[in-house]
Every structure is written in structure tokens, then in C-alpha cells.
Amino acid sequence: MNSYKLSHLKQLESEAIHIMREVAAQFERPALLFSGGKDSIVMVRLAEKAFFPARIPFPLVHVDTGHNFEETIQFRDYLVKKLDAQLIVRSVQDSINKGTAVEEKGPNPSRNSQQTITLLETIEEFKFDACFGGARRDEEKARAKERFFSHRDDFGQWDPKNQRPELWNLYNGKKQVGEHFRVFPLSNWTEMDVWQYILAENLEIPSIYFTHRRDIVNREGTLLAHSPFITVMNGETVENKIVRFRTVGDMTCTGAVESEASTLEEIIQEVAAARQTERGTRADDKRSEAAMEDRKKQGYF
């Protein structure tokens, strides 16, 4: 027996830092995809740790759908300023204006799949060869098969049946011109790990994760925030409720949960007792049994 034991969270942290340094060493133009959500906030903290005392050696990239929560955008700008990090923002609205993306029809168009177009355009514009994402394997079953270093062809597509085997801690980032990688340092983390890490590291997060009063539209069980992007339909009503959000996505598809959790400790207790996955509040995953797999194949996050 020896006393040299690293707790599971420290092991996950070390693994993620190792992967970030591999990317910085193996690729020429990495970028960190930043949504302002809790997972990308943890990613930024890990990047800070990996390269301390130097600055984070890659930019943060935000693909702005135009349907964000205001609080998330404010938080993004605050964090970037605080860390003296580089931020690149590209917007789905610009892709729509250019004609490369087309707005969905219907009463509350989602810009979820349009996001992929803007993301791939951004990757091409800046010639990014590796993009960090905060996705975790526990989030969704198609993600459970994802590699840390996930190869994308020159159309940005994922081929789940033909992935490179990934052994030990040896990561193969070799690629042809035009191809790129998505890299997921948080692959082995669970939702609970992320929350416990945020608490342990005392990280700041956007206010919408905590309880607040908000006007809500109940759409087939999903509690959507009432916003200019939502059309209230026949039979639906706007109610003022005490809610918080478990994930941060577009206002058009991110459902709230009724909650009075006002501290990280209370959120953790709530997550521990929850009987629904966090993506259970995401309308974008409910479209079909393989919705995530299909979107990922096309180049989604």
C-alpha cells in the first residue's frame, strides 16, 4: 500500500490537461469551442491550468445562433476579459444572410442544424485543425462511442463505424490537408463530475443555472423561456415560474426545470436526485431516436 492516491476527479482533471497539451503539441491551429455553458467553462479552466503560467495558446470560438440567453453572452464577454483570452464570434445570422444556411420554417425555428454550417465555415475560414468540444460520453448514447481525438473528413463529417482505435494514452492526430479533429477532453466526465468540479474550483457560471423567476411557455412538457424567438401557439399560455436551466443552449430548444436551487450545493443535491438526464430537457434530441448520431455525422459539435 502507498499513500500516493489521486482522487477520481483529480485523475479526470489530469487526463483532460494531458489531452489539451497533446493538442497544443500535435496541431498547428487549435481552437476551443465555447458556448458559455458549464462544460465549456470547465474546459476553459482546464486550459488555464494546462498552460500556466502562459496564456491559453488558442482562441475561444463561439458560434452564435442569435437565440442565446442574454446572460450567457454577458458571461462569455466577462470571462474572456478576465482571462485576457482571444475570442472569435461567428454568427448563424451571417450564414443565413449569405445564403449558405436557410432558416427553418414554422412557428419557432430552431437554428440547431444551421449552427453546424456556421461552425464548418468558421473552421474553414481560420483553418482550424483541431477544435475542442466539451461533450461528454455520458450525455447521449451516440456520444458514448466517441473518441477523445475524433477524426473529421474534409466535409467535417464523422464516420462512427470507421473510427480510429484509441489505446492507452496515445492519441493519433495525423490527418490529410483539409481534414480536422474534434477533441473531447471531458469524455470521461459525468454531469455530476462537472458540477463537483465547478464547486471544488469555485468557478463562476451564468446566472441562468440558478433559480430565478421567468415567463415560461409549456410546450409538450418542455418549459421554454418566453422570448422574441418563441411564438405562443393556440392553447398555450405564458406563466411566470420559479425555474433554472440544467444546460445552456438556444432559447428555442432549452427547457427549464422548476427549481429553487440557488447555490452550487443545492444544484448538486438536485442533480443527485434527478430522474431525468440533463439532455431530457433538450427538445433538439427528442426529434428521433438517433437525432444526435445524425447531427454528429454532419459535423455537429
Binding site: S7, Q11, F52, P165, L199
Partner: protein, 431 residues
């Protein structure tokens, strides 16, 4: 199905931050209930949520199954569900108040040896499933041989479907002794046997009322308590340099920090170290993290080391101790598992990745291939194709700093990459 109650108290942050981590892999043949077992572990440890359960209940019903098919939880890809088989390694997560678990769920078909090797490469423990009705079969042997080759130190043999053999002790005992006979030629130091019924839950999380003759712990108890602290190497100090940190600002003008993961031994400030390949000595000035300097660094920590002297050090180099150095050579013997449809080309050149060092290598010779069902050597057919395992000799363009795989998994493993397709084609363990 019963629920373990532990969740509330286990998520107090203090205990959560002290939990340790066990990575295990599961191997079994097509119908021996592997997915059901994993589904059971996830369900009973509360890692399955209502919406996931609702979804698989609905799909089970749609497919006309009379029960909730827990294997639907683990088979995530569309083509897997369509064909009812597992294609790729899937990673699953659950926790009890004592430990956090990462499960590499690997398919058991003959053609998927490469997936088993992949899943086993990071595992501390392997669960091998044996169908009580069929006993030790060829696939059991293959899975065990792979676990042994990959140096998994702990194996739990779960004799499943005990309900179908009336929970008879004799059946279990026969299988245990058959397996022990076979395993005597392997190098697995810790083998345990548990009679279970994954479908009914006997001895998975809760002790079985149907098998009072079994006195050992449940599967979950064994997973929670197996001692893995001796599995890492804390003796032979190895620090492969991964990345050089140079802030180049006013505050840290001449700062050079060597970032990497400790892959063996302990590193402390003030200790004398040697840099490879130069052989130059220096002293550790500091072991740094963003939280401040550390008194020591040990595996598997990611840290930054600074040295007293200015030595030209870059990625791929290694920092070690003067009286305990790895082998340094260009001629290396290894066991290779081939992962690609295109056969290995003897005499051909490949990119080799070892710790943080990249080189090229040529395959000089194939000593023999092994029959992965019997461990016998095959010397008349030396072609190494997909899913084959064999002993080979390579020569690298530049020396590697390595240990044998049995001494250190991290400094004893390599991957081979095809120079043209960039695919990872081989997984090697240095002898």
C-alpha cells in the same frame, strides 16, 4: 428492480472528492448476457435515468420483447440497434459512494479482437462472462488471453445464467476448476469467481438467496473493494516531456517549464535528474501547478517541471533519475495486435508513437504469431492481419526511451500509424 439508496449522502462534496476511480472492461460472447449485466449495474447504481428507461421500454415493446431489454442502453449507434449487436467500444459511467467506475463495454465477436484490446488498454480490471450452461469455451480463453497480454492484473470471472442451471454449486465449481487449469499458463495475478444471474440480479449488487452456498462477495462488492493502488509504477521515475511552456512575457521572461504527465516514480524539488537523450544532469527546481508549487508529483498527475540548469529540452524527450534509467534503443521487440483490414507489411515502414515521441520504424521480422484461443505459437504462417497478435522486431529511425510493458504500461506501449492513410493500424507492447 430494487434501488440502492446511497445517492444523497454520497454526493456530499467532501466524500465525492475522495472517491477513487476504477476502469474495467467487460468481455463476453454474443448471448452470454453482457449488456444485461452492464444494464443491471447501471440501473442498480442509479446511473440510468427515467427518460432513458422510458425510451428503452418503448423500443422493447415496439420490437415485441416481453421484457425491458437493458442491452438497448449500451448499443448506441443506429446500425447496432438494427443488427442487435455491439460494433464498437462503448464507455459507460456509474458511481457508488466508494468508487467511480468507467466501463469499457467491448463486443465479443471473433472479428472484434481489436475492440477488446482497445478497451483493455486502459482497464484495471476485466469482467469475463461465462454462460453457466456452456462453461469455459474458446471465446472465454480468447478474452482471458487478451486480458493477460494487456497486463490486466485483476480478472473477475462471472458465471452467468445460474438460474438456468438451478443455481447448482457443482456447475459453478466445475467451471471454476476448468478456468483455473486454463489460466495457469496466463499471467493474471488476481482471479476471482462469482456465480450470478444478470437477468434476475443474483449476486450482482445484492447477495443471492438462491445460492446460499456462495460465501464470496457480490460483483459490486468486489468492484468496490479490489485494491488497485499497487497497479501503477511508483518506483521507476519517468517524465516524458509533452510540451514546453514559455510564457515570454515580462513577469516570466526566461521561464521554461516542461509540461507532462508523470508516467512512473516520484519527482521532488531538489532531486537530481537526467535528461534523455542528451544524458545531461540537472536538479528539479520546482514542480508547478496553477494552485502553486508541489512537494512531489506522482502518477498519473499532469504537472510542469522546471530545472536548475538551462538544457535544450523539447517534446519527446524524457526526464528520469540517474540511477534508474529506461532502455534506450532503436531495435525493439514487441507483441503487436493488428487493428487494420490491410495486413501488416513485413519490411514495410510505419509511423510509431511512443509516449510523447514520434518516429518512423521498419518491421524487420515476425518471430511468430499466436493462436489467441490457445496461446500456442504459430511459426509456419507469419502473416499478421486484422485481429492477429504476434511477436515482431522493429527498428526505429531514432532511439526510444522505454521499459517493458510488464514493468510500465505507459512507457512500454506503442501504436503504429499507416504513413499514407494516417490510420492507427497496430498496438504494440514492448517485451
Amino acid at each position: 428492480m430494487s434501488q440502492t439508496t446511497s445517492t444523497k449522502e454520497s454526493y456530499s462534496t467532501e466524500s465525492y472528492l475522495n472517491m477513487d476511480l476504477l476502469r474495467f472492461t467487460t468481455a463476453g460472447s454474443v448471448d452470454d448476457g453482457k449488456s444485461t449485466l452492464i444494464g443491471r449495474l447501471l440501473y442498480d447504481s442509479k446511473a440510468i435515468f427515467e427518460d432513458q428507461l422510458e425510451q428503452i421500454e418503448e423500443v422493447s415493446k415496439r420490437k415485441g420483447k416481453g421484457y425491458v431489454d437493458l442491452s438497448l442502453l449500451t448499443d448506441g449507434l443506429r446500425s447496432e440497434r438494427e443488427q442487435g449487436i455491439t460494433i464498437d467500444v462503448a464507455y459507460r459511467y456509474f458511481a457508488t459512494p466508494k468508487r467511480k467506475f468507467i466501463v469499457a463495454d467491448t463486443p465479443g465477436h471473433v472479428q472484434y479482437t481489436r475492440n477488446m484490446v482497445t478497451g483493455a488498454s486502459t482497464a484495471n480490471l476485466a469482467i469475463i462472462l461465462v454462460d453457466a450452461r456452456h462453461g469455459v469455451i474458446e471465446q472465454t480463453c480468447r478474452h482471458s488471453i487478451i486480458a493477460s497480454l494487456l497486463q490486466i492484473k485483476h480478472v473477475i470471472v462471472c458465471v452467468n445464467k445460474m438460474d438456468l442451471v438451478d443455481f447448482k454449486e457443482e456447475v459453478f465449481n466445475t467451471i471454476c476448476s476448468d478456468y483455473s487449469n486454463f489460466a495457469s499458463k496466463l499471467s493474471i495475478p488476481d482471479i476471482r469467481f462469482i456465480p450470478i444471474s444478470a437477468l434476475l440480479g443474483d449476486n450482482v449488487v445484492d447477495a443471492s438467496d438462491n445460492m446460499p452456498w456462495y460465501k464470496g462477495g457480490t460483483l459490486m462488492y468486489n468492484l468496490e473493494t479490489v485494491n488497485i493502488s499497487a497497479d501503477l509504477n511508483f518506483i521507476d521515475a519517468r517524465f516524458p516531456v509533452q510540451y514546453v511552456i514559455r510564457p515570454m512575457n515580462d513577469k516570466y521572461h526566461d521561464y521554461r517549464g516542461y509540461a507532462g504527465k508523470v508516467e512512473g516514480g516520484i519527482f521532488r524539488p531538489g532531486e537530481e535528474v537526467v535528461h534523455l537523450p542528451s544524458g545531461l544532469s540537472s536538479k528539479i527546481k520546482s514542480v508547478e501547478t496553477i494552485e502553486g508549487p508541489l512537494a512531489e508529483a506522482f502518477p498519473p498527475m499532469s504537472v510542469t517541471i522546471t530545472l536548475e540548469d538551462d538544457i535544450d529540452i523539447s517534446r519527446g524527450d524524457m526526464i528520469v533519475k540517474p540511477n534508474n534509467q529506461p532502455e534506450v534503443s532503436q531495435d525493439i521487440e514487441l507483441m503487436i495486435c493488428w487493428l487494420n483490414d490491410k495486413k501488416m507489411n513485413t519490411g514495410g515502414k510505419y509511423v510509431i508513437k511512443h509516449t510523447t515521441r514520434d518516429a518512423r520504424c521498419v518491421i524487420k521480422d515476425v518471430r511468430y504469431k499466436i493462436n489467441i484461443n490457445t496461446l500456442n505459437k504459430i511459426e509456419d504462417d507469419k502473416t499478421i492481419g486484422l485481429n492477429d497478435i504476434g511477436r515482431i522486431v522493429i527498428r526505429t529511425t531514432t532511439p526510444l526511451f522505454f521499459d517493458s510493458y510488464s514493468k510500465n504500461r505507459a512507457t512500454g506501449s506503442v501504436i503504429l500509424v499507416d504513413e499514407f492513410t494516417n490510420e492507427t493500424v497496430g498496438a504494440g507492447m514492448i517485451i
